[in-house]
């Protein structure tokens, strides 16, 4: 499957665009929840403190002279101070701010809008919340304060906070999961389309299945299908044209060539008077053979082009079978040229066009036979080369021990109609161009090197590695 990691991904984009704001929103939610829970909580605790003031005030005795006296019994004080978590303090000051009863030095809340008023302060090295009630008496304002350490408040605020955070985080995770699942499910038709395209062979010109395609991308697949249809039609037209051209070219060539062949053997048999005439017919015959060869090569080159090769031609085949046939087919030529043509074939399976590879091999062997002097060796090989730890590539090569190709010519020999200078050979310079075109059609690479003995030429075609 093609890697979706390249470029940007709609799925990642959607996930990012949805989750980042969602996370922010939920963080804000935690803060709002916290403050909206903590302040009523604090008010409730203040209420309890305030109600203690009532208890203290109820036991104050204010004399006619304005003297204030606390009549709280020890038991009442014990009840007042009874608390499992916090220390409770109280303080009563008379109108002249003199100590009447309670815990001396307990801070007093400054006068505020409400009565009692509250303040957060520090007493006996601990934070306290103090409520002060200003009671108006005939002799002036008596201050009644009750203070409480803040253990309970802090504890419950902490509990509240962890509860809020836990529930909000759970909510956030739940939402993100839903977003993730939603995006995944929502994008499924798009991913299915992606896979459908990724699985296709580069030569497959069949229309894409549009049934699972969402309407947003349907124009895209419709455009692709129109393009596929156009390209397929063009390929078919070229295929037909080449088949007709081949027929119309080869038939008269075959006739002319065979007639000249017969004419030259007739002249020989009947001992034609003029040897110059025989010579001319022989030249005509050679020229006609070259013309036929070039016509074949041009047709092969045209048919090797990708546009003339629909996927239908490709199938699984073994290079060894192909190499054996190729060598057997060229055995007569090798025999006539006194060249030892051989093969070293190991089974190597590739997906390829049978006839194109035969054409490729025929050109490699043709070239090797043409450029190797009598007494030389030409060997066709195929097999598997290890291309790394997991991939194994099939290869097909032809090696000769002829004069070889100079280093500086090695790139140029693949150009169409290029011929090595100084050669007396009648090649048309199309052989290696055909080899290259066919290799390209198969996604294969060509390596042109010196033969294994340090002499001659080795042309190796390496097919793309298949998965391990």
């Amino acid at each position: 499957m093609a890697s979706p990691a390249r470029g940007f991904s709609i799925r990642r984009r959607l996930l990012l665009l949805l989750s980042a704001p969602l996370a922010l929103l939920l963080t804000a939610g935690v803060l709002i929840d916290y403050f909206s829970t903590v302040s009523p909580l604090s008010a409730a605790y203040d209420q309890v403190v305030a109600s203690s003031i009532v208890a203290v005030a109820a036991h104050l005795d204010i004399g006619a002279d304005g003297r204030v006296k606390s009549e709280l019994s020890d038991q009442a004080i014990a009840v007042l101070r009874a608390d499992n978590h916090d220390e409770i303090y109280y303080l009563v000051l008379d109108a002249d701010d003199r100590f009447v009863a309670g815990d001396a030095g307990l801070p007093v809340a400054p006068e505020g809008r409400d009565n009692p008023s509250f303040v957060d302060a520090e007493y006996r090295d601990a934070p306290v919340r103090v409520a002060t009630y200003r009671m108006k008496t005939a002799s002036g304002v008596v201050l009644i304060s009750v203070g409480e350490t803040t253990n309970k408040r802090r504890e419950s605020a902490r509990n509240m906070l962890s509860y809020i955070v836990a529930s909000d985080v759970a909510q956030l995770l739940g939402t993100l999961l839903l977003v993730w699942v939603g995006v995944r499910v929502g994008l499924r038709p798009l991913l299915a389309l992606r896979d459908q395209i990724a699985r296709r062979s580069a030569r497959d010109l069949a229309a894409l299945d549009e049934s699972p395609v969402p309407s947003e991308v349907r124009p895209l697949t419709e455009a692709l299908n129109r393009l596929f249809a156009t390209v397929a039609e063009a390929a078919n037209a070229q295929h037909r044209f080449l088949a007709n051209a081949a027929h119309q070219l080869r038939t008269p060539l075959a006739g002319l060539q065979a007639q000249l062949e017969l004419l030259s053997s007739d002249l020989q048999q009947h001992g034609a008077a003029d040897p110059a005439l025989r010579e001319r017919v022989a030249r005509l015959h050679t020229g006609m053979q070259r013309l036929g060869h070039t016509a074949n090569q041009l047709l092969a080159l045209a048919r090797a082009e990708p546009s003339a090769n629909p996927a239908g031609d490709f199938r699984e085949l073994d290079l060894a079978d192909l190499a054996k046939d190729g060598v057997a087919a060229h055995f007569d030529r090798a025999l006539a040229a006194h060249i030892d043509l051989g093969i070293e074939a190991e089974s190597a399976r590739v997906s390829a066009s049978d006839w194109l590879l035969r054409e490729l091999l025929a050109n490699l062997i043709d070239n090797a036979l043409a450029y190797t002097p009598a007494g030389g060796n030409v060997t066709a090989r195929c097999g598997i080369v290890a291309g790394g730890s997991t991939s194994r590539s099939a290869f097909l090569e032809v090696e000769d021990d002829g004069p070889g190709i100079p280093e500086e010519e090695r790139v140029r020999v693949f150009e169409r109609f290029y011929r090595i200078a100084g050669g007396e050979h009648e090649g048309n310079g199309l052989g290696l161009a055909i080899v290259e075109e066919i290799a390209r059609a198969h996604g294969a690479t060509i390596e042109l090197t010196t033969g294994s003995g340090g002499r001659g030429t080795r042309v190796r075609v390496v097919f793309a590695a298949r998965g391990s």
């Binding site: 088949a243 081949a246 027929h247 119309q248 070219l249 080869r250 038939t251 008269p252 060539l253 075959a254 006739g255 002319l256 060539q257 065979a258 007639q259 062949e261 017969l262 053997s265 036929g292 047709l299 092969a300 048919r303 031609d313 054996k324 060598v327 057997a328 055995f331 025999l335 030892d340 043509l341 051989g342 093969i343 070293e344 074939a345 066009s353 049978d354 006839w355 060997t379």
Partner: protein, 220 residues
């Protein structure tokens, strides 16, 4: 040996007729499949030489009809088309061999000879390659009338090569042909039998080595 050439192009047909006649065949030529069917009702032939691109009924259809009629006549298909599809089709519909235009006249004659020899061998247990004569049921080989002394394994190798004279026979195939006689025969052993055969056959025929692939028996 009589050949029917079915080819519409006059230039090609004329060359075929001349070339095959020179090679010692009796040749008749027609220019369409319909005419070929008529000719086949009147006469008997040993081989059909069929061009695929005929006007009217094309070569494919013609060969298919010949085969459907139950004829085992050898058919050599000649065509100007290339490509695997045509090749596979030509052999699938019942063609015995396939030659692409343009062709060399000697090759055409050689292919015709090989096909006729093969079809004769099917009915007639005598195989003749040049001066070599094989009597298959008797397992007797003669060169120019003189009987050859052959071991059963040498005979098996020679029989296999002679039945496919002019074609490269893979080593593996010879190995199999010999192995049916005993347990296991290595490729090296096949080499030994071939070299002994060469010694016994002398100049009568030649067994050529295709390095790494196999051997081919040819008339000398």
């Amino acid at each position: 040996m009589r050949i029917l050439v079915i080819e519409d192009d006059a230039l090609v047909a004329d060359a075929m007729v001349r070339g095959l006649t020179q090679s010692g065949f009796a040749v008749d030529r027609v220019s369409s499949a319909e005419m070929a069917e008529a000719a086949m009702q009147r006469e008997t032939f040993d081989l059909l030489l069929v061009d695929l691109g005929l006007p009217g009924m094309d070569g494919f259809e013609f060969v298919r009809r010949v085969r459907r009629a139950g004829s085992g006549l050898p058919v050599l298909i000649v065509t100007a088309r290339d490509g695997l599809a045509d090749r596979v089709n030509a052999l699938d519909i019942g063609g015995d061999d396939y030659l692409v235009k343009p062709f060399a006249v000697p090759e055409l004659a050689a292919r015709c000879r090989a096909l006729i020899r093969r079809s004769k061998a099917a009915g007639n247990p005598q195989v003749v390659v040049g001066h070599l004569h094989l009597d298959l049921p008797r397992r007797e080989a003669r060169v120019g009338g003189e009987p050859l002394e052959l071991t059963p394994r040498e005979w098996a190798v020679l029989e296999c090569l002679a039945l496919h004279a002019g074609q490269v026979v893979h080593k593996e195939r010879l190995q199999q042909a010999v192995s049916s006689w005993t347990d296991d025969i290595t490729a090296n052993a096949v080499e030994v039998y071939v070299s002994r055969l060469r010694g016994k056959l002398g100049e009568a025929v030649s067994i050529r080595t295709v390095r790494g692939l196999g051997y081919r028996l040819d008339e000398s």
